[in-house]
Symmetry: C2
Subunit: 330 residues, 2 copies
Amino acid sequence: VANIYIGDNLPLPEKALIAGIRLRSRGKGRGIALGIGDDCAVLQVPANRQVLVTTDFSLEGIHFRREWHPADSVGHRCLARGLSDIAAMGGEPLAAFLSLALPRKLSQRWADQFLSGLLTLANEFHVPLAGGDIAESLQGVLADIVVVGSVPRGRAILRSSARPGDRIYVTGQLGGSAYAVSLLLSGKRRRLDPRDYRSHFYPQPRIAVGRVLGEHKLASAMIDISDGLSTDLLHICEESGVGAEILADAIPRAQVGPTLQEVDLQTALHGGEAYELLFCARPEKTVPGQIDGVTVSEIGRMTRGSGMVLRDRKGAKRKLRAQGWEHFRS
Amino acid sequence: VANIYIGDNLPLPEKALIAGIRLRSRGKGRGIALGIGDDCAVLQVPANRQVLVTTDFSLEGIHFRREWHPADSVGHRCLARGLSDIAAMGGEPLAAFLSLALPRKLSQRWADQFLSGLLTLANEFHVPLAGGDIAESLQGVLADIVVVGSVPRGRAILRSSARPGDRIYVTGQLGGSAYAVSLLLSGKRRRLDPRDYRSHFYPQPRIAVGRVLGEHKLASAMIDISDGLSTDLLHICEESGVGAEILADAIPRAQVGPTLQEVDLQTALHGGEAYELLFCARPEKTVPGQIDGVTVSEIGRMTRGSGMVLRDRKGAKRKLRAQGWEHFRS
């Protein structure tokens, strides 16, 4: 079972893959007492810190399609999902674990490039790949990423601690990833150039921003925008027992594609996989307009009650419904 | 992304499943500062302990078949795989995380019973289910279990620390699970009564034995037998840079089925998924014949060099090859 090891009953491409992972991942990372090659990895968590754990599937046909996503983008996005959850707690990543099941006929090249995309992002954030599991898949590439992180004791930024009157903020721009998805799903474009749609193919987890917000005690509640602003805001509202009012004009809309087309309001409001941070702050806090080079926009405030409201520039209000976005299922 | 939450874009059976998990898992466990319902779980690891992490796939068609395995057995085995890895380090489990992808047409009853099997074992070992991920699967039930545990600092029992002259031990009896698999794969039996083959359908992770071995510093190296004795012994040999000599007659063979049939030597030597512990001890250590009610058998000793040897009762030696076992792939 277990941690990645060179199993003798594995077919050759998988053995090569594991050997490659092991070679490229051994001995890195401060918090890793023992990495790949035993029943478990052993992590050394700094004193006075708590441990964060998150797991996220990346399943072919659900979260990505091989005809649309280059292998290195699939690997990048796989890890970015987990890192973004660590960011949303104000935490720091310690180590990643990858469970990966590959179909027999998959090319070694695809597997190598998947791993390359994942490990490039891992190196960027100094997160060693410390273990996982390898298996055969009967259909499609199946990946599950686990990221273990840490946060100073009692300082994790939760979804449940927003209060009426808190201001609401988002990092970066919204809707860029969902716009790319809508182009692909509509059939208008068979392929996209990943360089024109980086927010979809290579999203940047906001680890540094989350850490700054935690260190300076700026955020009262936080979540990452994976299901879309409206849905993730509802999660904060439900967990905190409050409502929210959003200013339509304040929502930062992404400009994407070769012509830097600005996405429409609906895409920015409901589009998923932005991997930006959505957070609240008490009204007396001064939140900078930029943190670690990332724009921070105030978009509304938390209210009493439980409803979400969208206000336009003339002051007219309408109910804001959480509208989750579609995955890649055909 | 992330931790399990009630996503608004999930189909109803999945929402019900998550609500059920959350209801049955909330607020349990000493080490859980924050369980299901946020971007990450937050764990409190006792001071002077290191963190153990292991991940294991349970994929339909590879690790189990729905026509052979009752849903509660699939759930039990899924978690047992992870717990067994924690046991193999001499550790204690702290929390489990489940990534679960279900096909649309799966019955709610199957999902409920899967969860029941998993949570029954979790409760037995006081391991709260603290998070995970839920997704749709395009084919088959896909589960990935993560178990996080802890061990006193520097006291994890590794695969790499065996020395020539160490005695080799195994817990329990071997081959019972593999025998059940061989009956099913051969087509001789379309179904087995799980009560007659408990070592296959409901294996017991040896957490208490592993902890005792660690506390009393009895084991110099350890692994759990998931790939079969010969393969897992090879892992210890390779990681420790030593060889091994096993006494054929000393291998404890399981008695399984309604007639308590004793399995043959080959099945005990090479059969996988025993989830017993294989460990080494320095020759001066006194290892009890039973720990926590589980038989402990001495089966050989580690040697210089790198080969594995099997010795019969007449003293004749032959080379022992690692022969991994088959999964359920058709």
